[in-house]
Symmetry: C2
Subunit: 186 residues, 2 copies
């Protein structure tokens, strides 16, 4: 099984008008993404934020569950949250992931609700299941999605998730869960 | 396409020690489940709570996005939230769903992280895609899952979602998204 990482990016992302902004970290994103990542055996999820106080907030959420009495109350929380690594930018995430892969840089996989005609999850699943598959890192945007500058760095662009109709405004928590299931579900 | 409903149940559910309790409604559940349900074209999601004040709270969350300025700020929110129907118990949900299906009672589909060896999502997807498929209602538990009394009413029991390992403590928001994608994803 190829090593698989994810990154939850708070800058650069788009707001509802398409402007490039920095979004705030949401504690529930940390919990939901960590639990999904742990269920689907990701190697790490990088929480990417350029502002030190926001990174401190994320660390405080994790530390709350690392210590008593929270750890005793529900040890499965910290088991999931320990999947998270808090970093300031994508390069730092890539450096840490590469170090975990004996120096091999993971392929960057862009995700967006708006992409079509690119790689679908079935193709990516097959590629990641190959014996010599390289590690990969799934990139998820908060706010209204990743800024174009992030897509330009991607090695693989994944199609958006579609249902039977036109509406496809999933939460990042839902999209993250679905993509991991498509790539790794039993 | 068979009519498909869901119910988010707050009583009777289990707490971490396996006791039967009533859980509180979480506003983020309403948003995330509504957005996933709208994306996968569910006919309705019933938010089931026995306490009137909790039902009022859920209605207030929905009404906030129905009215200006929130509607103007993001009309896609109310487009999703209008999928929700607030009811006091499962019988009321079944009565309303049956009325939408010309009197046909939907099959009740139990979901749980702990089930194995029962129906898998692929089998259920095929069954729901049949030309004469009956309507169905997926039952989701909050807290630590549905109480045994709910399972006893189910017509179909769906297997839990599994990844490569043993950890499977997904949030209800993540499990809901994955099951809808498995049943209806393009």
């Amino acid at each position: 099984m190829a090593r698989l990482f994810a990154a939850l990016i708070h800058y650069p992302v788009l707001d509802r008008r398409g402007r490039i902004v920095t979004s705030a970290i949401t504690s529930l994103d940390l919990h939901d993404l960590a639990r999904s990542a742990r269920t689907f055996a990701l190697d790490a999820v990088f929480v990417v934020h350029p502002i030190p106080e926001q990174r401190e907030f994320a660390r405080a959420v994790i530390d709350h569950w690392r210590m008593e009495p929270a750890r005793n109350f529900d040890s499965r929380r910290i088991e999931a949250l320990e999947t998270l690594r808090i970093v300031s930018d994508l390069d730092q995430a890539l450096a840490q992931a590469s170090a975990l892969c004996n120096g091999t840089r993971p392929l960057l996989v862009h995700t967006s609700a708006r992409t079509s005609g690119a790689t679908n999850a079935r193709e990516l699943r097959a590629r990641l299941a190959a014996p010599d598959a390289p590690p990969a890192m799934l990139l998820f945007g908060t706010g209204f999605g990743l800024a174009p500058a992030v897509m330009e760095r991607a090695d693989i662009v994944l199609n958006g998730i579609r249902g039977p109709g036109d509406y496809n405004h999933l939460s990042v928590r839902a999209a993250f869960a679905i993509i991991l299931d498509r790539l790794r579900g039993a």
